[in-house]
């Protein structure tokens, strides 16, 4: 094997990817060729250096979020004390109930309406990011944000800061969605903005179980409680948004 042939195989030699016969040829050539030796040493030095770069530890939050996210997919219960849990429903039964309830609601007119509102919600969310106008009242203090809505809405939205759980309140603003005035609360998770729209609901019935809609790269959670419709929208991943939704529901 000539020098140029060895040179072309030197990396495969280093990587242990040569056939036995080629390997022997390279090893025969090496002691007689300082240039090829130097190349090999060079590559070895680089390999040792890069190989010594230590791996970063996996954050505990990632492990936990994956686990919770997977349970979310299977419909296993992530919450410790929810209504279905008290009633003694298993995760599977609960999922079944949600499917039946959802199917029943779907056959009526609710879905088209929900779909239309969810589009409005996403548009409002995007608009708030585009014009850099996420908040009219900028405060991380829930006691500042809540009173700001007084007199502007015919209901009083719950305002809580979840900074300790990694969802920091940024402020609030007013929006006009589905032909009514809505409060929009703005939270931040790392670089992701979360908008929470709260408005009066047409549906008198309680629908504590939430619906997840994924569209255009945004995740939207919707539920109704105490006559108020909640819409949570963000480009944040489903698992963390789910965590946030649970914080809101439990507050």
């Amino acid at each position: 094997m000539e020098c140029k042939d060895v040179s072309a195989r030197i990396e495969s030699y280093l990587d242990g990817e040569l056939t036995l016969s080629d390997k022997r040829e390279v090893e025969k050539h090496l002691p007689a060729c300082p240039a090829c030796q130097a190349r090999l040493e060079n590559l070895r030095a680089l390999h040792v250096g890069i190989n010594s770069l230590s791996s970063e530890h996996v954050p505990a939050s990632l492990k936990k979020n994956i686990h919770l996210g997977l349970k979310d997919v299977t419909g296993e219960d992530n919450r410790s004390g929810n209504l279905f849990g008290w009633l003694g429903f298993s995760g599977g039964a609960m999922a079944l109930v949600s499917v039946i309830v959802w199917a029943m609601i779907s056959v009526t007119f609710v879905v088209p309406q929900q779909s239309r509102i969810s589009e409005e919600i996403i548009t409002a969310h995007v608009r708030s990011l585009l014009v850099d106008h996420a908040t009219d009242v900028i405060s991380t203090d829930s006691h500042t944000v809540k009173p700001w809505f007084n007199g502007k809405l015919d209901f009083s939205p719950q305002v809580k800061n979840f900074a300790a759980q990694g969802f920091a309140l940024q402020g609030g603003r007013l929006e006009y969605i589905n032909n009514r005035t809505s409060s929009a609360l703005v939270y931040k998770r790392r670089a992701h903005i979360i908008n929470v729209f709260i408005m009066r609901s047409d549906n008198a019935e309680q629908a504590d179980s939430s619906t997840l809609i994924s569209r255009q790269g945004f995740n939207v959670y919707q539920w109704t409680t105490n006559g108020l419709a909640y819409w949570v929208v963000s480009d944040l991943n489903k698992t963390e948004l789910h965590e946030f939704k649970q914080l809101l529901q439990q507050s």
């Binding site: 072309a8 130097a38 010594s52 770069l53 299977t74 599977g92």
Partner: protein, 187 residues
């Protein structure tokens, strides 16, 4: 519908690869928080496709999903920005060449000198184009074979080999430049 049993089996098979998956994502997107998001999204995607997974190489399967998710994120970032990344400047047009064509004459000690400082070496590696960082991570850090890298990256073996060769050459060049800078600064 995926069941609790599916979830448990999925976790048993894939969670041991979480560290590799997370580190691959970190090298690709160079942002720890985004890497977390990407890995989580990739695990969810993998779980949704779990019924279709019939192979026995869970590692390669998981790593492929993670890298594809990371590349999607990177291309989205690129679309959202009008800037030409440094990657592309350094990258230029990637063409198929025989490995071994990139030999450059530098002293092993020069490489060793830089390689001795892990922080510096990591910084230099972070400056390489994405595909080069990827192939170096898979080969030099994780020790995957050419065939396994081919499976993960879904590019032909020849491309894997030429990428690896070019990546090593770029790293050597960067090490050399770094050492020259240090010498000029009298360090």
């Amino acid at each position: 519908m995926l069941s609790k049993k599916d979830r448990q089996r999925f976790e048993r098979l894939t969670m041991p690869h979480l560290s590799q998956a997370y580190n691959l994502a970190r090298w690709l997107v160079k942002d720890p928080a985004e890497a977390e998001d990407i890995v989580q999204t990739a695990y969810m995607k993998a779980f949704e496709a779990f019924h279709h997974f019939t192979g026995n190489n869970t590692t390669a399967w998981m790593m492929t999903i993670v890298r594809n998710t990371a590349y999607n994120w990177l291309s989205k970032q690129k679309r959202n920005s009008n800037l030409i990344s440094f990657d592309e400047i350094l990258h230029g047009a990637e063409h198929e060449q025989e490995p071994g064509q990139y030999a450059i004459n530098i002293n092993p000690e020069q490489v060793l000198h830089i390689a001795a400082s892990k922080t510096q070496l990591a910084q230099l590696m972070a400056r390489l184009p994405t595909e080069f960082r990827e192939v170096l991570f898979l080969r030099e850090i994780e020790g995957y074979s050419y065939q396994e890298i081919t499976d993960i990256t879904q590019v032909p073996k020849g491309t894997v080999m030429s990428r690896l060769s070019r990546a090593r050459q770029q790293m050597q060049k960067l090490c050399l430049e770094q050492q020259k800078r240090e010498q000029a600064n009298g360090m």
